[in-house]
Amino acid sequence: MPDGAGRARVAGLLRLGGWAGGELVAAVPLLAGLAVWELAGWMLGFRFLPPFSRVLATAVGMIAGGELMAPLGASLLSLAAGYLPAAGLGVTLGLLMGRSRGLEFVLSPYLNAFMATPRIALVPILYIVLGLNRAVQAVVVFLGAFFVIVWSTMRGVRSADRDHVEMARAFGATKRQVMWKILLPSALPLTLAGLRLGIGQAIRAMIAAEMFIAVFGLGALLRTYGGRFDAERLLAVLLVVVAVALVCALAAARLDRHLTAWSRTPR
């Protein structure tokens, strides 16, 4: 009979095995899809459908060869330059709007209009007003993320429990303390949801704008290879774009899970 520590180790191993098994089971559908792609690529021989393995090899080759580095760098730079201010200002404005009904009344029509409008339609205007330069890319990313972050944060503040506010007041909290200790934490789950939606929209707007102007970034590369009907390279770049988007989405989801574990109901 194993001792306590030994038993714990066995249990740990089993759990690890179970975890890896769980991940594997979850990956089966995707692996199946990739296998179908691979087979179809070899068997059908369509020009626009090279096998997945060849696309993957091309992507790796393009990264190793440095061909992808400059566009990837340009994209990530504009993403950071647009998203970080959008997050900072968006959360701030959202908090202000959450606290002031007047501000919400004045600004929410604009917010709703911007959220409903395809951001890509604004790109031609931006290029005409600001000229052809990289700053426009950052502005596009900013516009992509900003409004949904403001909206979610505002909803978050509004979702604060009135009983919590009253409780804090009963314990002598000042307006400032109510803001920092009650409203801000209450708003956190929806704020983070907004930041998650925002990063997705930011990447979408960024790629669209890069494709529109076809000078900088991964979007420009997509346009180039698309124009040449170079399916292998086109799909390789697409793979990289999807990977960047997935990494951003997963990182945001992880942050969200970490910070708002308290808001999920126990199982």
């Binding site: 009253e166 409780m167 804090a168 009963a170 314990f171 002598g172 303390q177 934490p185 308290w262």
Partner: protein, 258 residues
């Protein structure tokens, strides 16, 4: 000593009609160290009266004084225990208990020390880092009570604190509250809609009636202290309970006739 003089509170009606009178001319005096229960049917303004004492609801006229100072807002001399606990879901038991101290700018060590003390006092040892959602209703209210006691108030205001827990848990909480309060010498105002609870805990019971909210009479309980739950077997307990039940029923008939 708490002195309430001709307190009136009106709320704007939601339908835009005449304002609803929550408190009409309430006068009451509560002695230092007294345990006063406020009993009444729902809508009689008992919670409003308690919140007015806390300084959360402003009076339209009249005055509430503590000692010689008029109540104009929340103060360090009073603390409140809430009906629905009002615990912060993102903070663990320790942080919830230390919340009031933290607002008053107590140091981190002071908060931790006080929280540890009160966790033990209310019987929550071992749950220091649990989140509210991991606790039962009774345990959550123990946190609510500890949070109020941790700021060392002279006056404890309790708004139907055990209204939302099951009967057995409620009994345990009542016994523990008796035990904690009889040693402390604090003034307690305890709102309830349970006759047994009012008689079991209170030195006096203030009976309120609705529409408009008024104090109808104040009854001396007169059971000896220190009390335990065994007072329920005394004739005086049963007699008081029946008297209160008569009065509450009479109030309902009045309302039906009106």
């Amino acid at each position: 000593m708490i002195t309430i003089e001709s307190a009136r509170v009106r709320f704007a009606s939601t339908e835009g009609g005449a304002p609803m009178v929550a408190l009409a001319d309430v006068s009451l005096t509560i002695a230092r160290g007294e345990f006063l229960c406020i009993l009444g049917p729902s809508g009689c303004g008992k919670t409003t009266l308690l919140k007015a004492m806390m300084g959360l609801v402003p009076l339209d006229s009249g005055q509430i004084r503590i000692g010689s100072h008029a109540v104009t807002g929340p103060g360090a001399d009073r603390a409140m225990v809430f009906q629905n606990y009002a615990l912060l879901p993102w903070a663990d038991v320790t942080a919830n208990i230390a919340f009031g101290l933290e607002l008053r700018g107590a140091s981190r060590e002071e908060c931790a020390r006080q929280a540890a003390h009160w966790i033990k006092a209310v019987g929550l040892g071992g749950f220091e880092h649990h989140l509210p959602r991991q606790l039962s209703g009774g345990m959550q209210q123990r946190v609510g009570l500890a949070r109020a006691l941790a700021v060392e108030p002279e006056i404890l205001l309790m708004d139907e604190p055990f209204g939302a827990v099951d009967a057995q848990t409620r009994r345990l909480l009542q016994e523990d509250l008796l035990d904690l309060m009889q040693r402390s010498g604090k003034t307690v105002v305890f709102v309830t809609h349970s006759m047994e609870e009012a008689v079991l805990l209170g030195d006096r019971v203030a009976l309120m009636s609705p529409r408009p909210g008024r104090v109808r009479e104040v009854i001396e309980v007169g059971l000896t202290r220190p009390r335990t739950a065994s007072v329920e077997r005394e004739p005086r307990f049963t007699e008081l309970k029946e008297y209160l039940w008569e009065r509450l029923r009479a109030m309902r008939d009045e309302a039906a006739d009106a």
